[in-house]
């Protein structure tokens, strides 16, 4: 399935893009993370959370065709 992946802040500097489509054949977010870490090894050492449908989600979440965001620590205000 084709997933729409978004990267923000520091993470988008590492990936060199804010958004990309990734073809993913696994099932959980952990598997997606492995795929993304393979592409961007530096990302693995960074502090981040994942969001799906405007909520922070954990790595064992099962994926359906949708948007996933990689979010570095929040620093609003």
């Amino acid at each position: 399935m084709l997933l729409n992946i978004k990267y923000f802040g520091l993470l988008s500097e590492i990936t060199g893009c804010h958004e990309e489509a990734i073809d993913f054949n696994g099932s959980t977010l952990y598997e997606l993370m492995d795929l993304v870490f393979e592409k961007y090894p530096e990302l693995e050492r960074k502090d981040f959370q994942l969001a799906h449908n405007n909520e922070i989600v954990s790595g064992d979440m099962k994926l359906i065709n949708n948007e996933i965001a990689f979010l570095p620590p929040f620093s609003g205000g």
Binding site: G9, L10, S75, G76
Partner: protein, 146 residues
């Protein structure tokens, strides 16, 4: 009735005129006896001898607007407020300028003291906004909330 989430983002700094006008608009709401206002200002912190000249804010806007809305609803549940406004900058805000404006109003003062702190802390913790701190020599670092 389900309320529609408001857009809280403002491009660039929040001006003192905007803040003044917001206060003035409440003169017709005469059940209010107390306002409390938080203004977040960009600090010219020093790092390795260089000063921060501005912060460039970006956000995961869809999620941020949803989170601002949840915080709003939760605050109205917890505290006896008449009204509440939140504005956050996106884009470039120079040091000394305002990047966050939170405005809570109630018939009584004790509610607004508690409510304002709650809202600001919730925003810092839950809203996906990211600050890129720019130095005078065009280098940068990513802001970390403390």
């Amino acid at each position: 009735m389900e309320k529609k989430p408001k857009n809280v983002f403002i491009e660039g700094a929040i001006s003192s005129e905007f803040i003044g006008t917001s206060i003035a608009k409440h003169q017709s709401k005469t059940s209010i006896g107390a306002h409390n206002i938080f203004l977040g200002q960009v600090r010219a912190d020093k790092s390795n001898g260089k000063s921060i000249s501005a912060i460039e804010y970006t956000a995961y806007e869809d999620m941020a607007i949803a989170k601002f809305h949840e915080i709003r609803e939760a605050t109205f549940e917890k505290f006896n407020l008449t009204c509440m406004h939140i504005y956050h900058s996106l884009g470039l805000v120079k040091s000394g300028e305002i990047c966050l404006f939170v405005f809570v109003s109630s018939p009584r003062r004790k509610e607004v003291f508690k409510a304002l702190e709650y809202v600001v802390e919730e925003i810092k913790a839950k809203v996906p906004v990211f600050g890129k701190e720019l130095f005078e020599d065009n280098s940068h670092q990513w802001k970390v909330n403390t």
